[in-house]
Symmetry: C2
Subunit: 455 residues, 2 copies
Amino acid sequence: MNDSVKYTLPEDRIPRAWYNIVADLPTPPEPVLHPGTKQPVGPDDLAPLFPMALIGQEVTTDREVEIPGPVRDVYKLWRPSPLVRARRLEKALDTPARIYFKYEGVSPAGSHKPNTAVAQAFYNKEAGVSKLSTETGAGQWGSSLAFAGALFGLEVKVYMVRVSFDQKPYRRALMNVYGATCVPSPSTETNAGRSILEKDPDSPGSLGIAISEAVEVAATNPDINYSLGSVLNHVLLHQTVIGIEALEQLDQTGDYPDIVIGCAGGGSNFAGLAFPFIGKKIKENLPTRVIAVEPAACPTLTRGVYAYDFGDTAMLTPLVKMHTLGAGFIPPGFHAGGLRYHGMSSLVSQLKETGLIEAAAVHQIGCFEAGVAFARAEGILPAPESTHAVRVAFEEALKCKEEGVSRTILFNLSGHGHFDMGAYDDYFAGKLEDRDYDEAALAASLAALPQVAAE
Amino acid sequence: MNDSVKYTLPEDRIPRAWYNIVADLPTPPEPVLHPGTKQPVGPDDLAPLFPMALIGQEVTTDREVEIPGPVRDVYKLWRPSPLVRARRLEKALDTPARIYFKYEGVSPAGSHKPNTAVAQAFYNKEAGVSKLSTETGAGQWGSSLAFAGALFGLEVKVYMVRVSFDQKPYRRALMNVYGATCVPSPSTETNAGRSILEKDPDSPGSLGIAISEAVEVAATNPDINYSLGSVLNHVLLHQTVIGIEALEQLDQTGDYPDIVIGCAGGGSNFAGLAFPFIGKKIKENLPTRVIAVEPAACPTLTRGVYAYDFGDTAMLTPLVKMHTLGAGFIPPGFHAGGLRYHGMSSLVSQLKETGLIEAAAVHQIGCFEAGVAFARAEGILPAPESTHAVRVAFEEALKCKEEGVSRTILFNLSGHGHFDMGAYDDYFAGKLEDRDYDEAALAASLAALPQVAAE
């Protein structure tokens, strides 16, 4: 039996509740602080941006949060997603490791992002909100929220980092298909955007700037709410359907992972797969290794500091305790647009601090190499972000071979790369570089971190 | 219950045999003729191009052809594909119709094409062939054969119509990912290509020219076989997994289609869904309407003649009795590259002649309108080819509304449009035109049809 096996679940096994890791953490999460007072924010501070249901989820300590029926109904369009025993890949790598991957590219938008986009659209619709604003880098998140908006009848406005808006028109086109409006950021529509453009009319934009614009629009318009695609607790919560399904699918195999791997930009796909396994690790004292993989060019978990910082450039967001490279940090160019964020989810950061997870930083050329080898073995072409998880899965599988031991490796294949063929083209043309971040620029952005007395 | 429902099947319900409609046809198919002698071809004539197993499938009258284990094993990477009751779409169209679609975009290449690519790669590998040559228009077929070649360790060479090679680099990049070589056609590598380039160094190429190149390379190199993505009997045979699965999935619903719809270029995705339903229609004398949908700009079934013609421009292929616009016919520009072929599968043509199926021709702007509305309702973005089926499904659903009757409509959503966002961009920018074919050019290409005494 040398062939890959796909483990599916019937539709009625879509989870009925999300898993909240906060209930199982050794210590409670650090509070989010108001950017002005530097005191913990309350629900009223967040109410201009989010509906109360999501604010409640941001701070709940309940272990399980029920998934509303209409959200499960939309999940049925693609969930449960498959878990695959990658026997073809094992053979190609000639490894005794048992490799599994959970595949989230089956969603209509091609990634894990709709898991939370659908939930956020639902709760906003329930709260009577008719418009959402958000930001997007390469467009994976923007297109997912556009999809969710189409299904729930919400208007969606996306501020897209200008360099991606110009260079990657296809995800923007997908947003248009779903009826969303997408404008390049910095734009002339917001104070944040205008102030950037005054200084630099040709600004290529950044995720931090785009967040500032989307937050400003929501904060200053009572009928518009803000939606974020990663980082926040409620976003990670929604993604845990991935890991909950994977646990049940693994029951069919008789295997349990020794190593769980996900790529991490803001942390949501990593958390989505890993949190249910980390909860079990805590409760049952298991030796599971859990690895968050980030780009060496934007090494938040491996080179950042664990401190309070802003989520955006204009310093409009609350302060979050997290691993950060500083809100002013601009990584060098690389292709995994979803991994270019200066910060990291507070929950993922806390897990790293407490030693419950590890972090690894990898260079992009090795990631594309792994992505191509994966596609040739298993057929699926990974998104550039997802290749980071594939890369470390390869490294662990080859370690098994060297050591002559069989370990079970599980990784999250968070999305397909059909919108990223330009990146693969560059890879084959030898145009990719493994650029490192600028040490001096990192030192400068870290020196500019806000001062918070509580620390 | 207003939500779309996805009907899945467990992996062990992947069909164990393909369905061969020839066994149930009222009259036998017309023979394929040698281009020189104009006498029926024998296996030896085809042996330079195809392995004997596929030549056997081309002419078999067995009702069932067993699917080899290794082919089913690869099918498991994405099959069984889902059947969806499109309740959200029904609601959006406010129709009493019950709409189902079978979704083939879940394959790694994003379309139905791997169903036959995998089988063809397997039989060639079994026959000791190490290299395949083929042609591709927009690239859906080329990328699918590249995928299959990667899994079975075959070298794949793809002659890609030059205008698509230049304008649509992303499917070419996908072929590279799978390890295939892709060259623009006309190329300087073949007599067929060189003779075109001598007359017109800037030739944009055509599917007919690319077929000539791929056939020439296979015919003149003993270690290279040729592979075709549609039209031939064995290709359509392999696609019947679609309809066989759909029949079983419909058993779960209690519904049976009144109308079955597929888009038709060479006829393979249409046949894949429709043939099992047509077989049942013949055997049980059912009133099922079966509709093949083609572009109004390349109206093979609705405006072509039923006659023997060549499959390629250089007149290298055998002569096939089919609906044809003439091998010299060049359609005006439109976006559904997979539907730009001058001919049609001989089996599909025969069914049209005998009245067992209908044909409809539609314009592209209406197709994109339908594709966008479909995406906003069901989340999935259809390929431009597939929007032709969506369009006619819409029209039939709206007829149900007008007439106040509920009919069950089933269509094949043959692929997703993630590689075709440029076409959607043009649609939103108002750049699409509904161009008609040139009547005089059609008359000229029909006047040049080969003379065959048997007719």
